[in-house]
């Protein structure tokens, strides 16, 4: 009996020592990684400084025309740093980027859009740009503010729009194998949802009224492009602790290049130029 007790105690002790050893190894590995990341960060800062000062020749000329639409995802913490955001937009304007979509999950940027627009000379909102037919105007920077509610919830709203539209006209067989809707119909529904649903209030009667509007509106190349149904960005820059799109409207980033820039508080001009330059060098096959 004593022997079995002793062996149990010995087993427990060796298991605890084993666990302690494993934990130590794990922490050691992560410490090494943190040191490597820190070293890389220093190297990136140095490189950014060289780019900013124009010492690296290849970054001097950017083929900025290739970047027609840029999206910026900002982490919740960064979204409150309005002055940093304005500075970032000023850098983009100086580089020649004219269409920018700003995204954060909670809609903090939407609330501070007036302040941003006031402090950015000549910048206008996307919907205002369309109403005044200045989408192609290269003088003004055009800004769009998007949040999480323009993603999945917008798809749901668009789904309800399509549901209402087709429930009036179509007899649906549950075994029907052919597609009922097309991607372009979904895109149109998303675009008009972005136009109509400026608040998050959902009411079935709204959908019915909206359905009438949807049927009566004519959509050509000058469709409203808002929130959920706006254009697809060519490049998406993520300012936050990790590389993650944080729920940016899925319909709009199918083939978008997603680049992680680090936290907004440590943003710098050189990294921005490097990210844009690397994007201009990319060649996409689109599945081919």
């Amino acid at each position: 009996m004593d022997f079995s007790n002793e062996s149990r105690v010995l087993h427990r002790c060796s298991a605890q020592i084993g666990n302690l050893l494993l934990r130590s190894l794990w922490h050691l590995v992560h410490s090494i990684i943190s040191i490597c990341n820190f070293t890389l960060d220093i190297a990136n800062v140095l490189e950014s400084y060289l780019i900013s000062s124009g010492l690296l020749g290849r970054y001097k000329s950017l083929h900025i025309a290739k970047l027609r639409y840029l999206a910026i995802v900002i982490d919740s913490e960064g979204a409150y740093q309005t002055s940093k955001i304005i500075k970032l937009l000023q850098w983009l304007e100086a580089v020649g980027v004219k269409h920018v979509c700003l995204y954060d999950t909670e809609g903090i940027l939407k609330k501070s859009k007036d302040f941003v627009l006031e402090n950015l000379d000549g910048a206008i909102l996307f919907q205002d740009a369309h109403e005044n037919n200045v989408l192609l105007d290269q003088q003004h920077m055009i800004l769009e503010f998007v949040s999480f509610s323009d993603g999945k919830e917008a798809v749901v709203k668009a789904a309800n729009v399509l549901f209402i539209k087709y429930s009036k006209h179509v007899v649906i067989d549950q075994n029907q194998k052919e597609k009922i809707f097309t991607e372009s119909q979904m895109s149109e529904a998303l675009k008009t949802v972005g136009l109509f649903f400026l608040s998050d209030q959902v009411d079935f009667r709204c959908y019915y009224q909206f359905f009438l509007l949807f049927v009566n509106l004519s959509f050509g190349t000058s469709s409203f492009l808002l929130g959920s149904g706006g254009p697809e960005p060519d490049l998406l820059l993520v300012y936050g602790p990790a590389r993650c799109h944080l729920g940016f409207p899925a319909w709009r980033i199918k083939y978008t290049e997603i680049v992680h820039m680090g936290p907004l508080k440590s943003m710098n001009y050189g990294s921005l130029i490097k990210a844009i330059y690397k994007f201009t060098m990319v060649r996409q096959n689109y599945g081919k």
Partner: protein
């Protein structure tokens, strides 16, 4: 070397011992429940090795096999691989046919593996775009493995996220129609119940079988998602590796998991918020 011999080889010897030790250390920290991969770079690998494209795809299939086994040992429960996009039909018909032939071979191999290791296999995508024989083989495999839930392997074939969303919207509409809901004579008291909601759309997604991925790996040095799991990857660690897919190995997986563990608290917080 037969694929079965390769599997046996993976499990034997000192490499297996080293791997088990490494994974034991990794398991001290949080392990992702679901890893998704975009297997990019097979043709570039073939070009680099001066072999034909199909041998490159073969090497890619082998790399996926290795990943499945490593993930099972590590404790990852779900693995999703982007095997063929709807956009890939735009490739040369001969290449598409060869990929379909490889898919059929892979289905046979997966049938063998699933019995050996009780793996549930699921094919996500618009399977009607596949030929009848591959469709049947895939459906048979899904049915025969439906009862296993230790490990779930999802192969995205004839898949794009936009097609998946559209399919989910259609199925949600059909479900509402089936419930007899229409806009005529609606009852104001039951308005909200008649609307399609996020939960309706998500249950009709091709990927409803698995939780949202924790890590999405893309090899080949590219930084885009190419219409893969965009809906599901709101709080997902996106990892872009410079290595081409056939060269993806154990150490790449270890690196990606370590990176995930470094940012785990951030993603856990985000998942609660969203």
């Amino acid at each position: 070397m037969l694929r079965e011999d390769i599997i046996i080889d993976i499990f034997s010897g000192w490499r297996s011992f080293l791997r088990k030790c490494l994974f034991r250390v990794l398991r001290v920290g949080p392990i992702p429940s679901h890893i998704a991969v975009i297997m990019d770079g097979n043709r570039r690998y073939a070009k680099k090795k001066k072999i034909d494209d199909m041998t490159g795809y073969d090497a890619g299939a082998l790399a996926l096999l290795h990943l499945i086994i490593y993930c099972m040992e590590l404790g990852v429960k779900y693995v999703t691989a982007y095997a063929f996009s709807i956009d890939n039909f735009r490739r040369h018909p001969e290449e598409v046919q060869k990929i379909m032939d490889l898919t059929m071979e892979s289905v046979m191999l997966l049938t063998w593996i699933s019995k050996l290791r009780l793996v549930r296999v699921h094919f996500a995508g618009n399977l009607q775009l596949l030929s009848a024989d591959i469709q049947d083989a895939a459906k048979r495999l899904m049915e025969s493995t439906a009862g296993y839930n230790n490990f779930v392997l999802t192969i995205c074939i004839c898949y794009t996220c936009s097609d998946e969303i559209l399919h989910a919207v259609e199925e949600s509409c059909k479900e509402k129609w089936d419930d007899g809901i229409g806009i005529m004579g609606y009852d104001e008291g039951n308005d909200y119940e008649r609307l399609i909601k996020v939960v309706d759309i998500e249950k009709h997604m091709y990927m409803a079988i698995a939780p949202d991925p924790d890590i999405l790996i893309r090899t080949g040095g590219e930084y885009r998602l190419s219409n893969f799991l965009i809906w599901q990857s709101s709080c997902c660690h996106l990892s872009s590796l410079g290595t081409v897919w056939p060269e993806f190995g154990m150490f790449h997986l270890v690196w990606v998991v370590l990176d995930f563990q470094q940012n785990y608290r951030y993603f856990a917080k985000k998942k609660l918020q969203l």
